[in-house]
Symmetry: D2
C-alpha cells in the first residue's frame, strides 16, 4: 500500500501517519518527492482495511498495490485448477460445451433437447428451474419439478446437469439434483448466498455480474473459496454498457485476463452476452479462440415457443453448425473436444 | 406493443404474425409504410411476454410501448404515496433526514451519534448491522447485537431506526427491531429477498442497483408491491460509470424522473453516491434542490476511526452545516424540515 | 510515480529498473514489502512518459501519483480564476445564466428570445450557428448568417453572446463575432481545434466529452492553456451511461470535484444533460445548489417548432420560473445573481 | 415512425397530431389500444426530424423504426462492399493484416519493422505521423517527415500504407502519401473532418468512437458517404466501460452486428482495444473467429523503447506467432490469408 500525501502536507502530517502505522506494527518507507511525499507501507495490511487513512491530515489518496483476493489468485495457486465432474474434467485440455434451454418448460421439451445434445457431443445439460426475472409477472420456473426433469434427462442420456440457485431454499433443492450449481449475474454479490455455496462440496459456475469488474468477480470467487469450496468455474456473460443493439456487451478480453490473474477455469455465455441468436455462433467461435475452457449456450427445440429468452436461443440446426466450428477452433489451439 | 417487420418481409410473413396474434385474442393494426410494415398489437399482452415474436419470419424487432410495472406507476396511483412511520410521514411535504454511521460498531459510537443527531433535527437513525462487503476479509457487522444497540438508541432518543437486510435470516432479525428495512443496491435484483420483504408490513427503502435503469428499479419495487407491501421508499445511491474520481456517479436526474413515473417517495444517498466526504454536502443540497423527499447520509463521531466507509462519512461539524444548508433549500421549495 | 514489481521479480529485475531511472537522472526509493518490492521515482518524470516501464522485466504496473495537468490545477493557481467578459465576471461571486435556442433559426426567433431573456436577467445569449449533428441529413445551422443575427441581438439588447465552433473555418468566423467561443462535447478531444482556440484571446467554454473523465476534461483545458489562453470555463453537460430514460446522465458531482481540482469556473448544461424539458428546472436548481458558477439552458419562443433539440428546450414561462428558483438558491449560498 | 400518446391524451390531442402530419403530407395510421393510442407515420419523415413531436400535447414518446443511415445500410447495398487498394481487396475473401508501430519514430525503426512485416505476410504498414495525445506534453508525431518515411518503406517493401489524419491540414498532407486514411476514435464525430474525407477519393478506415453506439458509427460512415466517398472500412477498437483492467473493452460482437446492418468491411484493433500486449494475440484470434475482415495491430522492433503506447505493442516474435494462429483460424472459416 502506498499513501500519497498532499503537496501542502506538513512534516507534522507525515509524522502523524508514520506514528499511526508504527502503532499498528507496520513497516514504513518514506520517499520525499520533488512535489510531494509518498509513504510505502509494509506488513500485514488487513487491519488497515478498517482505518480510513484518507481522512488523516495531509493524506491525498491511498493506492492499493496487492489484489484483495488470495485463494483465487495465481500467486496462491500457480497451476490451472482442474475440476472433476462425473467423468469430465473442467479446466483441463478439453473444451466443454454446456447447452440447453433457458428454462425447463416440460419433460418433452427437455428430453428432446437432451437427446439431441447428446448426439452432438455436448457434455452438460443446462436448464433453469428457478428463473430470476426482472418483472414479477414473467414465468418464474418449474422449481423442483424442473430439477426432477433435469435429473431424468441425466439418467437417460448420461449428460451431466447444471442449474441455477437464486436463494437459500432453491440452493438446498438444487444441491440434491445437479452436478454443478450456477450462481447468476444478479447474485454475484449476494454474499450470503455465496457463503452458503461455499459450504457445499458441489462445483459452482459463478457468472460475472452485469457491472462487476474482473477484480470484483474474483473477490466473489474468494467469498466461496474462503468457506472451503475451491471448485469454481468463472463465466463471462456480458457486462452492461451504453450499447443497446446487443443485450449486453460480451467482454471476451476478460477470458485471457481472468486466466492470467486466476487459476480457475473460465467459460463464456454468448447467449446472454449478446441476446441475439444470430450473434451466438460467431461469438462462441471467438470465445474459444480467446482461450475459454468452454461455453454455455441456449438451445431450444423450437425457440419460437420458448417461455423465456427465445430470441437468444439456437435451434438444433444452428447448434450443429456451432459445434462443427468450435471443434475446429479448439483443435487449432491444441485442445480436444 | 409494436412489431416492426423487415423491409424484405413477405405478405406471408405478415399474415403469419397476424394469425398468431389473433389466436391469442389480441387486436391487430397493420400499417404499411413506404419502406416496411409495422403491426400494432392491442389487448392484454402479458401472455406475449412468453412468445418470442422476434423469431417469427420477417420480424425485425419488437417495441414495447407500455411500462412493464403497474402498481409502482403513476397511472395506477396518480397521487404521491405517503408512508407513516412512527409520527413521521415520508413522501409528504416534510423533507426528512436519515443519518448515522455506515456500520454499528459499538454502543458508545452509536449512542453518541444518536444523541447528536437528535439535537440537529434528524428523524431517522441509520446504521448497518449486516454489511455486504466485497471482500470476505472485511468487517461484516455486529449482526443482532447491532440491531439491539439501534433499538436502544431509539428508546433513549426517540429517533426512528432503519437498517439493511441482506438475506432471509437477517431480514427476520431486522424485522423484529427496525422501523424501516433497507434493501441495498447489490440486492435490488435479489428477487427472492424482494418477495420476502413484500410479505412483511414494514416500510422498505429500496436502493437503486449499481447498473439498474430507472425502469428496472421500478420493476424491483413492483416485485415487493405485488406481494402486498406498498410502503416503498426509492433511494438513488449512484450508478456505475467509467468515471473513477467518485466512487459512483450520483444520478440526481433520476429523482425528478422517478417522481414523474411513479408515486413513491424518492430519497438520495450522497455518501455512497460520491464516496468522498467533501462532496456530500454539495450533493445533499443538490438532491433536495432536485426534489428529493429526503436524504440518507453517513455521520460518524470520528470518521478516522470508522470500521467501514470512513472516507465518505461526515463528522459532527460537517453534518451541522449540512442541516443548515438543506433546511434553507427545503424552505425555498415550500417544504418543511 | 510508483513502480510495482511482480511478486516473482528477481534482484536483477529490480536493479535493471533502478539503473534505467538513474540513467534518466531520476531519484529512486526502493521499498521491499512482505510480498513484493515497490520503487518510488523522484524528479521530472516527463521524459518517462515516453518509456514504457510496464515492459521492463519484473514490472507489474505503474501508478501515477501526480496529475498530468499543471496549468489547469489548483496547485498551480490556488485562487479561483475570474474571467472578465464585457462587464460581467465569470467565476466570481455572481451566478450567471446563458440562455437561448439550440440553433439560430431566424432573426425573428432569435430577437424575440433575446428581448425576453434580457427582461429576465440572463446575461449571455447562446445559439448555435454551426451544429454538429449525428446524421448528415439534419439541419446543420445558418453558419455566418447565424453569427450575424447573434451580433445584432447583442447590439440591441446588450446581452453578451456565445456560440460553438466545430472546425478551423467556423472558429475563424465565430471569433469575429462572439464574446465566448464554445467547444462542444464531441470536440473535447479534437486536439488541433483545442490548440487553435488556445492561440486566440477569446474566453472559451469547454464542454465535458460524453465519455471523458474529469482528468481528461482538465487535460483538454490544459491543451488550450498550454497555448497561452487561460480564460476557460468548464461546462458539465452529461456523460454517457447505460441509462436511456435521460439523453445523458448529468454528473453534478463533477462540479464540486472540478472546483476542488482546478481553479477554473464550472457551469452546467441541464438541457443537453437530460434531453427532457421537464427535468431542466429541477436539475438547474440542483446544479446551482451543487456550486456551479452558472448554467446554460435552451430556451425557445416556441419549442414545438424548433429546428433542433426542441424536446429539451424551455418555453418563456418555464424559463421565468427557473430564474426565480435559482435566484433564491444562489442567495442561500451567498451568491448574487 | 410511431408516436405513442399518453394514457390521458384527449381526442383533441390525437387530432392535433393527425392534422400536423397531414399538413406535412405524411400518411397516418391510428391504432387505439386498451391503454393508449399509438399513431403510425408513413412517408418521407426527413422533414419530421426538425419537428419536435415530443412537445405536442398528449404525446408521450416517439419511436424511430427506420435506421437514420441509408447509404451505409445493407438495405441500400445488399452485397458486401469490396475495396481495391493497390493489388489487395479489402472486404473480400482474404483476411488482411495491418501492422506497425503506434507512431513513426525514425527511419530505422520503421524500415526494420516494415522489412520484418513483409516477411510475415502483412499487407499494410501502419504508423502514426500525427498523434492525438490526451496530454499536450506528450510526443505529438513526426508529421510530414513521418509520412515520408512511410512512403519510403512502401517504396522498398511494397507494403501499402495507412496513417491517421486529425485535422484539415494533416488530412491534406496525409492524402499525398498514404493508401488509406485513418480517422481515429476521438474524431469519429468530428463532422467537418468526416465531410472533408468524404470529398477525397482515398479509402478511409473509420474507427469506432469510445462511446459511440453501432448506429452512431454507421451514421459517421454515412457522413463520409453522403459526400461521395464510398470506400470505408469500419474498425472496432474498444469502447469505454467501467472496467479498468483493460484500457478499453473490445466489443467483438460489434463485428458480426456491423456486418449484418451494413455492407462495409469491418476490422478490429486489439492493441488499442485492450492496451495490454499479452491480450493482443488471444483477442486477434477472437476477432478473426468472430468474422472480422482483418486486424490492425501494433508491432515495434523494441516495444520497451517505443515513444508511444509501448505496453500494447507486440515484438517481432509475438507477431510471428500471432500470424500463425490467425492464418489457421481464417482457413477454418474458408478464408485466405
Amino acid at each position: 500500500m502506498v499513501i500519497v500525501m498532499k503537496p501542502q502536507a506538513t512534516q507534522e502530517d507525515i509524522t502523524g501517519v508514520e506514528k499511526l502505522l508504527e502503532r499498528l506494527n507496520l513497516g514504513v518507507h518514506i520517499s520525499e518527492g520533488s512535489e510531494r511525499t509518498i509513504i510505502g507501507v509494509i506488513g500485514d495490511k488487513r487491519q488497515l482495511a478498517e482505518t480510513p487513512l484518507e481522512l488523516m491530515p495531509g493524506v491525498q489518496r491511498i493506492v492499493h498495490i496487492v489484489e484483495p483476493y488470495k485463494l483465487a489468485g495465481r500467486a496462491f495457486h500457480p497451476k490451472n485448477t482442474k475440476i472433476q465432474v462425473g467423468n469430465e474434467i473442467i479446466g483441463g485440455n478439453k473444451v466443454l460445451v454446456m447447452a440447453g434451454p433457458c428454462a425447463v418448460e416440460s419433460e418433452e421439451q427437455l428430453m428432446s433437447t437432451a437427446r439431441f445434445l447428446k448426439t452432438q457431443g455436448a457434455t452438460f445439460l443446462r436448464g433453469g428451474a428457478f428463473k430470476p426475472r426482472s418483472s414479477p409477472y414473467s414465468f418464474q420456473g418449474l422449481e423442483e419439478d424442473g430439477l426432477k426433469i433435469l435429473a431424468e434427462a441425466r439418467e437417460e442420456t448420461g449428460l451431466l446437469i447444471i442449474s441455477e440457485a437464486v436463494s437459500t431454499r432453491s440452493l438446498e433443492l438444487a444441491a440434491k439434483y445437479v452436478d454443478i450449481i450456477q450462481i447468476g449475474a444478479r447474485n454475484m454479490q449476494n454474499f450470503s448466498l455465496l457463503q452458503e455455496v461455499g459450504r457445499l462440496k458441489l462445483p459452482v459456475m459463478l457468472k460475472r455480474g452485469l457491472s462487476a469488474t474482473i477484480e470484483e468477480w474474483l473477490n466473489a470467487a474468494e467469498y466461496i473459496m474462503s468457506e472451503g469450496n475451491y471448485n469454481i468455474i468463472l463465466c463471462e456473460r456480458g457486462i452492461r454498457t451504453f450499447e443497446t443493439y446487443t443485450r449486453n456487451t460480451l467482454d471476451l478480453s476478460s477470458i485471457p485476463a481472468a486466466k492470467e490473474l486466476s487459476h480457475l477455469p473460465v467459460f463464456a455465455d454468448p447467449s446472454h452476452g449478446t441476446g441475439r441468436w444470430e450473434l451466438v455462433t460467431p461469438m462462441s467461435r471467438a470465445a474459444i479462440a480467446a482461450g475459454a475452457d468452454g461455453i454455455t449456450v441456449e438451445v431450444h427445440p423450437n425457440p419460437k415457443e420458448a417461455l423465456s429468452d427465445g430470441p437468444q436461443s439456437l435451434n438444433f440446426d444452428n447448434f450443429t453448425e456451432l459445434m462443427i466450428d468450435i471443434r475446429r477452433i479448439a483443435s487449432i489451439l491444441g485442445r480436444e473436444m
